[in-house]
Amino acid sequence: MLRYLVRRLIYAIPILLGVSIATFALFYLTVPPEQMARQNISAKNPTPQQIQDWLVARGYDKPMPEQFSKHMRGMFLFDFGKSDSTSEPIVDRLRSGVGPSMVVGSMVLLGSVAVSVVVALVVAAFRGTYLDHWVTFLCVLLMSVTFLVYIIGGQFLFAKLLRWFPLAGYQEGASGLRFVLLPAIIGIAASLGANVRFYRTVMLDEMNRDYVRTALAKGVSSSRVLFVHVLKNAAIPILTSFVLSLPFVVTGSLLLESFFGIPGIGTYMVDAINGQDFSVIRALVFLGTILYIVGAILTDLSYALVDPRVRLE
């Protein structure tokens, strides 16, 4: 197990190197820094002096190799530097944003997996019936609605018309629950269609196995077969999709957070887009990548935990 982990971590190094070279090429070579300065400086027609000052202040005037080494060093030491537009350290904003993002993100992830696995199990048990057909059709309907409509519609209906939840805002602690409840419900609803469909396929694959027939033949009740035998065996695909979504719990949801005024990383990202803040986007891309790679390794490790047949060598 440990040897496997070490090897996976070593494999991750060339990937990380590739990502940082790709982001460097993307951010430094495709657009000349002068253009970034022009987009970032609020004045309409910045003077050459203003642009020069902007570049010097952020170190974009240095020769390319030096910038490259600074870029690489910063990325590996998690020293993301300062924001291009507000000059505050990026790490500070990330640190304050992780909490709110994780509160909403984990509620959405846990809720959505729980609801969709249960629905998928029930639907799979009734496979081939009208219930099955209608639920799968409903899933396609739900999948075809854009996330924007879920958010705008949900916020309008439940917060503005019915006034069940506050429109937007965020508070630490238990009293803040009412603020995150609606975004969480909307996030769950939006992911339901795709998830139920996916898990239903997974369950159906399992239900055609021999062990299900054996269990039923020896008199195990069908609900027990479903919720104990099948669910356990379907754990690997469920786990994969679960662990692979973990990075997004940390980086938060751009749309949910910005609509509901949750001061998480997603909102930070939207602010950075609006402020043409390249250094923040750069840092977030790298952070997201690291989390994704860690997530992939965790997925493999968790296989070994749920399935004794999987040996990690």
Partner: protein, 330 residues
């Protein structure tokens, strides 16, 4: 002029592709299966309708010198601009002293007085452009690299796998936003960004399928006859990959259309002067806070988006079921 030519070329190419597909037993059988299901026919009708609108919006000409170039769609559906909002089918403006409207607006007008129905129709072409152009550029790249990696193996496989693992490690939405900020807003830019983020999945699929096909007898037979790798790949393996590639491209098309709306909404999609559903939703969002609520532009843009994506999803699923009933996953 060039636009008209390109549109014609694309149409002819599409016609040929469909005609050839119908001649092969596999696709003919798939279409026969699909025709039996009313839901799929309905989805097909919606797709045909949207395609017609997109085509009508692609052919343009000017009436004379110094006249603006207008598309067929503009000529049929453009309405004079009003001064304010007006609800669907309204007769009077919503000003303090109501005046008669210049024309009937089936779905009302938006804040600047533009006809909402016309604006919604304008979004069709943008959606097709984004989905179609991206798919057309991604397909050859993903097919080529995927087949090379799967067939040649070894170093080539390692290299191609490395490239797409690196790209795939960057969360898609982040990479999309970063690329759009750097490239700037625009339809071609958006196609490039969506292409870079969406070829990986297809390439991986093609590679896996090629690996499966490589050891089949027919490939062995072709090799025994002394055919080279290019010919085996193009004439023997590629036709066997097409069904799965087309299914995944159809479903991918709907994802691209959805992505366009979200990116335009975030302000990194297509420019504001290009009619797109994302831009309409963005403009309409704040209007829900008004009294009385202005809902018609939000509802029409999102309904059009919903219909297109739904039709694509249904047709994509039906194709999959029709081509290989064993792959049935509802």
């Amino acid at each position: 002029m060039i636009g008209n030519l390109v549109a014609t070329l694309l149409l002819v190419a599409l016609g040929f592709a469909v005609r050839n597909a119908l001649r092969t037993p596999l696709w003919a059988e798939a279409f026969r299966r699909m025709r039996r299901r009313p839901l799929v026919i309905g989805a097909g009708v919606i797709l045909a309708l949207f395609t017609t609108i997109a085509i009508a919006d692609s052919y343009s000409w000017a009436d004379g010198k110094n006249q603006p170039t207008k598309t067929v769609l503009d000529r049929v559906f453009e309405r004079p601009q009003e001064r304010t909002y007006s609800p669907p089918m309204a007769k009077l403006t919503t000003e303090a002293s109501p005046k008669p409207l210049l024309a009937t607006h089936i779905l009302g007008t938006d804040g600047v007085g533009n006809d909402v129905f016309y604006r919604t129709l304008k979004g069709v072409r943008t959606a097709f452009l984004i989905g179609g152009l991206t798919t057309l550029t991604v397909l050859p790249i993903a097919l080529l690299l995927g087949m090379l990696a799967g067939y040649l193996g070894r170093g080539v496989d390692d290299l191609i796998q490395y490239v797409y693992t690196v790209l795939d490690s960057i969360p898609g939405i982040l990479l999309l936003i970063a690329m759009m900020m750097i490239l700037g807003q625009g339809v071609p830019q958006l196609c490039i960004a969506l292409g870079v983020t969406s070829w990986v999945g297809l390439c991986r699929l093609v590679r896996g399928e090629t690996l499966k096909q490589r050891d089949r007898e027919y490939v062995l037979a072709a090799r025994a006859l002394g055919l080279g790798a290019p010919r085996i790949l193009m004439r023997h393996i590629l036709p066997n990959l097409m069904p799965i590639v087309i299914i995944s491209a159809t479903l991918g098309f709907s994802r691209l259309v959805l992505a366009e709306a979200i990116l335009s909404y975030l302000g990194v999609g297509v420019p504001e002067d290009v009619g797109s559903w994302g831009n309409m939703i963005e403009a309409a969002r704040l209007e829900l806070a008004r009294e009385p609520v202005i809902w018609w532009n939000l509802v029409s843009a999102s309904t059009a988006l919903f219909l297109l994506v739904l039709a694509l999803n249904i047709v994509g699923d039906a194709l999959r079921d029709g081509i290989d009933p064993r792959l049935r996953s509802a």
